[in-house]
Symmetry: D2
Subunit: 312 residues, 4 copies
């Protein structure tokens, strides 16, 4: 993630500024505020603003549940209770803003989450930089035949080299032609004064989906947890998961109690179906249940056995 001198300077200026505030402040998060955290080969995540802390969740819960919550002696217990019982609105009282640089195909997955505020760099108005994502060789997953979405092992040897070569060659070719069609230099002046240049909004269509874009992305903690539970999951594509994992680290700094509750009740737990729960009860009762008499399909049975750490 090579930043330009101009960008480094701007970040330094942001980090150097400091002011007094009466708002809740989280020193652990302030420590890394504005710093780019590297993701993939050219991407990053930066926390650029935040509102609220663990205390804001507790405060909102206490206004909702009133005197009732006084019985819960401490904040951790209350936050765990809220997460466990899906009393979700207090988590909406915290808000965070990220600056993210990411490949377009990752941005396309990310934007499905509609409950965030977004301002993306526009290739309609500006020229995209010549930066594209090339996976590390160990991330060149083979198409799995059994599972349509995951990657199995990685390509190796000559086939891996060939793929990396094609990705790079095509990205370079399309960017070169993008520039030629635009006929604009960095300062916006025509390269070839004899030609006019295609409009930016059209020329961008020639770029491949591994080119990097960037955006500001602002979201409340509840919806961020929802995003992370899907995108830091095993089934998520490796590339977006890389972003989610870095973001989880920022959340741990920001709201450590809520982050623990999220790990305990969302990421680390399990959902059982009605029939799955019956199977679990019978297993605990010492019964020897098999798939056929379980009422579960083969696939569900396999998933349940995985959840329970048993061989199906």
């Amino acid at each position: 993630m090579p930043l330009t001198p101009e960008q480094l300077e701007e970040i330094e200026a942001q980090r150097a500024a400091s002011a007094e505030t009466r708002r809740p402040t989280v020193p652990e998060l302030e420590e890394i505020l504005y710093q780019p955290l590297a993701v993939l080969d050219h991407g990053f995540v930066r926390v650029v603003d935040y509102m609220g802390d663990d205390g804001a969740i507790v405060q909102a819960a206490r206004v909702s549940y009133g005197k009732g919550t006084k019985r819960v002696s401490e904040d951790r217990g209350l936050i765990n209770y809220l997460m466990r019982h899906r009393h979700t609105t207090p988590f909406e009282m915290c808000e965070i803003k990220y600056h993210v640089k990411l490949p377009i195909f990752v941005a396309r997955q990310w934007i499905r989450h509609r409950t965030a505020n977004v301002n993306e760099y526009s290739a309609r108005y500006s020229i995209l930089d010549n930066e594209f994502y090339i996976p590390a060789p160990e991330d060149l997953g083979v198409q799995s035949r059994s599972n349509r979405q995951g990657r199995g092992q990685s390509l190796e040897g000559e086939e891996a080299r060939r793929v990396l070569h094609l990705l790079r060659e095509d990205a370079e070719k399309v960017y070169g032609d993008y520039t030629e069609m635009l006929n604009e230099d960095d300062a916006g002046a025509p390269i070839d004064p004899e030609r006019q240049g295609l409009s930016r909004e059209l020329a961008r269509m020639n770029l491949t989906l591994n080119f990097y874009t960037q955006w500001y992305w602002k979201i409340d903690l509840l919806n961020l947890f929802h995003f992370l539970s899907l995108r830091a999951d095993d089934h998520a594509q490796h590339e977006i998961r890389a972003y989610a994992e870095v973001m989880i680290e920022t959340v741990k700094r920001w709201v450590p109690l809520a982050a623990d509750a999220f790990a305990q009740y969302r990421m680390g737990g399990a959902n059982l179906s009605a029939t799955g729960l019956e199977v679990v009860k019978r297993l605990i009762g010492g019964e020897d249940v098999g798939q056929e008499e379980s009422g579960l399909s083969k696939r569900e049975w396999r998933e349940l056995m995985e959840t329970l750490g048993r061989q199906g």
Copy 2:
């Protein structure tokens, strides 16, 4: 708006706290942070947190429009441009959180705005205080016969006194019976140990809609402007408008450039229909247009003439 000593103490503690932050900070807003601003007879609005400032709007616009925005020499011009052309997403980058105390019938109008985060005091879990809204005599509007929603002039003399008497008498009666049904004192102990007491979630149904509730309400600036444009409008009910007007003052402290743009392009302007625009063009051209040949209905004609400050 008489606050309890306990509340005053909590507010003083919030205001006394101070910390260093790298985040954008707005001293004008910090000045009144946490302070209750009185509305109606027992209500208030308090700003309890915020994220971003005018600079955050500009920053988001510059990432979206890229180099293009460098031509706009200063922040005010850019913010005006965004507001005028309904480039709305940069305004979503600012967020504010209020603590509001308000009558239930006002809360019912307010909650129609679905794009905010809310944590309301729950009468299911806690007992509501004996506080209810009684309009000032000059606000006892008469039902307008021509306009089904507005109030015309106010009730006067004996009729006004009678209305105020009924409102007060009924609120006191229902609250007394609410307490009797609950059979709970302030500490949650039974008043009459021989009786059991109705559950809170049921007893609350006996309260009238002028009783006060309270909530935390968090919203981004774009949606706040939308809320304010409807609720600070002439057609809004006096009581919710009283809240909106106090909130506009807090917005002026927070994001003065955006607040000016809002006043200029939203609150103070006018929307013309296609036909209305044609009438305006003809009037400017010196034509003597009347309603009949305008293509507008009588009502639309009257509204247009009002907008133009002319006699219909």
Copy 3:
């Protein structure tokens, strides 16, 4: 639920109309279309329109997952898979519209779900009818001392009679005074021509929260399931649960496969925390685990034992 002759006539007219359509149609749901299904003493739920069916969910999933879904041999299996793996967007392709009559305090809980479209009868413009909710004697729950939100057993004998008397008396008093303040008869003419009448938008504040209101409420199936999972739950207040249960019956008619999947994977199942899952594994392995060494709090332990149908 006594309907006026005018209402009955309107419903009959709606039911009598019939047209040819190329859209997916669900005869089971058409059967009850427009019919008021009684809830509480004066309330109802009516399905007044719908879009899509089980097939629309399948269709949307197949466009998303493409050829991959061809392996799933039939619709039921695919819908179960989507529900189990929280692939939620295909469920958004179905939409339903209800007409609901409900007490205001129920409406206040209901409206917290922000992902629906709502048009409520406005007491600002119109006069509310003299209809209020009085619980059945067996629903007069006592305030639970251990659990702040539920109701325990019911009030009995004299205390129950006293509560019913107070609720009724107060509702009648406030409605009488509402009418007096309005000074309007059914036709909108002054009752007492000497007086002016308070505006409707103000007079309504004198009504208690058990008065009935009504609205059109439109929502997609995904968000409806979310609403129902919270409002048909044991922890939901009896009154809103009564509505949710009637609505579940309408969903069974509409999208039977999705309704089954909802029952199997949402309503009937269980969520285990990370630590709870460890306890389950140890129990299945035949270990004798107790609360102290489980890593769970006493409350979590009790909840887990309840889920597993065991004595703690």
Copy 4:
């Protein structure tokens, strides 16, 4: 827009089906239901389902405004009133579902509208077809120097030919390499049995942004109007505007009264700022106002003069 025989057959089957329904039905829209309406070189828009009609808007307004709306003698007047006064919720009672085939760069603009339900064809699970957008020669806009976003005149002659050649050449090259990396034939079998093939979720990143994707897109009428007002506007990019214009035609068939109101009060009208309104008043009064003394910036002045059809 060449459809495959398989697609044509599916559409024919959808169109041939017919059922009785009690729901509001719109014959004008039924006529074109499921039919692909061509947009750009390979794209289309198909209406595949709808809920509600003009009457549903009126019905919702009447429940909201109650007896008050009886004064408005007819539906057209009421719908115009709602649109003019931004009483927006009744328009949310209508819902429409489209099937759209569109280039990825258009999809990226489109998806910014977060208030719709979307199921997109996933290149993670399936292989994209070899279809990409090549603009018609007359749509090869030159980058405007004065206005960063619009296109001015079009490229001509050799330069146009060169751009078309590059776009086509690059799309073909990246698709060929995509296929090679995938190493899958149409049936999912390996082309070269010696190689493994890169996973689909990775290979797709090699495609350019002009490749076509498709989705189901479902939205309520209010939000559709908002989408159309932005995307059928002069400032919208030609390609997305082509879709918006076709969709407006479907809306005219579906809800003709609301479509007229939209044309009259949204698309065809004008917003004046506070200062702009003052200028209009002075002009009507016969004053000779110029930019300098208007209080408007040069840009605002020019925009106002354009709106008023005057030379600045």
